[in-house]
Structure formats: C-alpha cells, structure tokens
C-alpha cells in the first residue's frame, strides 16, 4: 500500500513528525508548570533535599545509550541483518526497561522520604512531569517489543524499515525530552 504524498514523502512519517511537534507543546506545558510551582511549596521535602543526581545521571546515560542501540537497530533492519536487528531492538527495549526501573526506585524512595503527589506543589508537578515521561518510555518499550515479535514472525525485513524508523523517532524524542528534564528539573533546580 502506498503511503506517499505529492512531495514523495512518506505520509506516516509526516504524520509522526507532526505528532512529535504536538508532544513538544505537551512537555513544554508540563515543564513550564513544574518551573512555576516547584519553588512555591510551603512544606517539604523540596528539590534540593530530595533529588538524587548520581542515580539520575546513570539513568540519563542509560537512556542515551538506548538511543544508540535504536539507530543501530534501524541500520541492521535496513540492511536486512536479522540477527543484529533483533539484538539491537532487544537491547533498546532492555535499556528502556532499566530506565523505568530507575524511575520506580526514585519514586519509591521519594514516597519513603515523605514526598507524594499530594504533599506539596513540588511533588504534584514533579510526579506529573516525570510520570508523563515515564509513561512515554513504557509505550516506547511496548512498541519495541512489538517490533521484536514481528521480527521473530519473519515480518520485519528491509521493506519494513520505515516502521522501525518511526518507532525510532518516538524513542529519540523521549530521549531528548529527558535531556531537557535532566538539565532543567534535576541539575539547575538542585544547583
């Protein structure tokens, strides 16, 4: 089935870039809300007291490496290398799951230290922002696992490389959003 416009561009790819554009507005709003309300909490814990920079640096590195695995998966699928496409797709999904593990650990330790989504404005905006991001990572992991299953079904050849590229666009977008969150929410606010 053809997916092309008069510009000879794939319509699915145009649609997906448009979706990513709309996601910029979503995360822009969430980050704005966090920055506005984060410092207005009347009770603790606050940003400086609770954020764990070493752990978050590790999860940031993990997500950056998952983006590398994703582009290597796309390259492998494009050249018809079945084995390496599976290895890199599985690696990307694994690193995404590790990131979610880091987030689970972080949320658990924050709750243990008394910060829930209802504790103060910092908690409300922090959990909403990072929770939305984590939800996006979870969706990305599901998309990657779906591609992996399709590969094992023998339905992920080079002719399906666009499907991998679109999943990759989503995955990298989740990565760039985290690049911003790591800087703005963690490093600058804790500094």
């Amino acid at each position: 089935m053809s997916h092309h416009t008069a510009t000879d561009l794939d319509t699915r790819k145009i649609a997906f870039w448009t979706f990513i554009g709309s996601e910029c507005l979503l995360f822009g709003t969430l980050i704005s809300t966090y920055l506005i309300y984060e410092g207005r909490s009347t009770v603790g814990p606050t940003t400086r007291e609770i954020l764990n920079i070493p752990i978050t640096s590790l999860s940031t590195f993990d997500l950056l490496m998952s983006s590398l695995a994703m582009v290597l998966a796309l390259a492998a699928v494009s050249r018809g290398d079945v084995l390496w496409s599976r290895i890199w797709l599985a690696t990307t999904a694994f690193l995404g799951t590790v990131f979610l593990g880091f987030q689970y650990y972080e949320f658990s330790s924050f709750v243990h230290e008394g910060l829930t989504i209802t504790t103060n404005l910092f908690g409300s905006t922090f959990y909403t922002l990072t929770g939305f991001h984590g939800g996006h990572v979870a969706v990305g992991v599901l998309l990657l696992l779906t591609l992996l299953v399709r590969s094992f079904q023998g339905k992920l050849g080079p002719e399906k490389a666009m499907n991998v590229e679109i999943t990759g666009l989503y995955w990298h977008f989740v990565d760039v959003v985290w690049i911003v969150i790591f800087t703005v929410v963690y490093l600058i606010q804790s500094g």
Binding site: S22, L25, S32, L64, H172, I188, G191
Partner: protein, 101 residues
C-alpha cells in the same frame, strides 16, 4: 535520486552513530562535573542550558536524521518547539519566575 518509497533517507554510518554517542556521554559527564564544581555555581544555569541544547541538537540531527532529511520534517518539528519555548518563557515571566531588571 528520489527518496525511496519504503526506505528511510540516507542515514549516517555506524561510525558516526558511535561518535555521537561518545560526544553525548562526554557532555553528560561535563554536565554532572559542572554541577559539582563550586566554581561554576554563578554560571551554572547558562552553562547547563547550552550543554543540554548541544545534546538535544545532536540527537535530533543525527539520530532522528533531521540533518539529512526533507526540510518539511524540520519545519513541523521546529515550529511547535519554538512555540513551546516561547510559551514557557512567557509563562515564567508572567508568574514571576523570571523578572526583568
């Protein structure tokens, strides 16, 4: 040559991907280093924002392939990104997080 219908546009080589990953790792290390060095405290925010912007751009240009892809994709991404940034800055001024003068 026309862009092939089901094939992605020409993408960077594996070597380029690895080089970008190395640069991203180094920048992340620098970010964390800057965070812990007291000397950078007065300029922490601008330094970190510049480093973050470099990382953001590298991922978008090379891993999301905007550098070699059709300009329309850049347009539909950068347009909303600029609007989001403008809204963010406007809201921060409106709510007194940023203050002029």
């Amino acid at each position: 040559m026309n862009q092939s219908h089901s094939q992605p546009a020409a993408h960077p080589s594996t070597g380029t991907y690895l080089a970008i990953a190395t640069i991203l790792t180094i920048i992340t290390l620098v970010e964390v280093g800057v965070f812990y060095v007291e000397l950078f405290a007065p300029v922490l925010a601008p330094v970190l924002l510049v480093l973050s912007a470099v990382k953001f751009s590298l991922v978008v240009m090379f891993y999301m392939h905007l550098k070699g892809d059709h300009k329309l994709f850049t347009l539909v991404f950068v347009g909303p990104l600029l609007i989001a940034t403008a809204v963010l800055v406007a809201l921060l001024f409106l709510f007194g997080v940023f203050v002029l003068g």
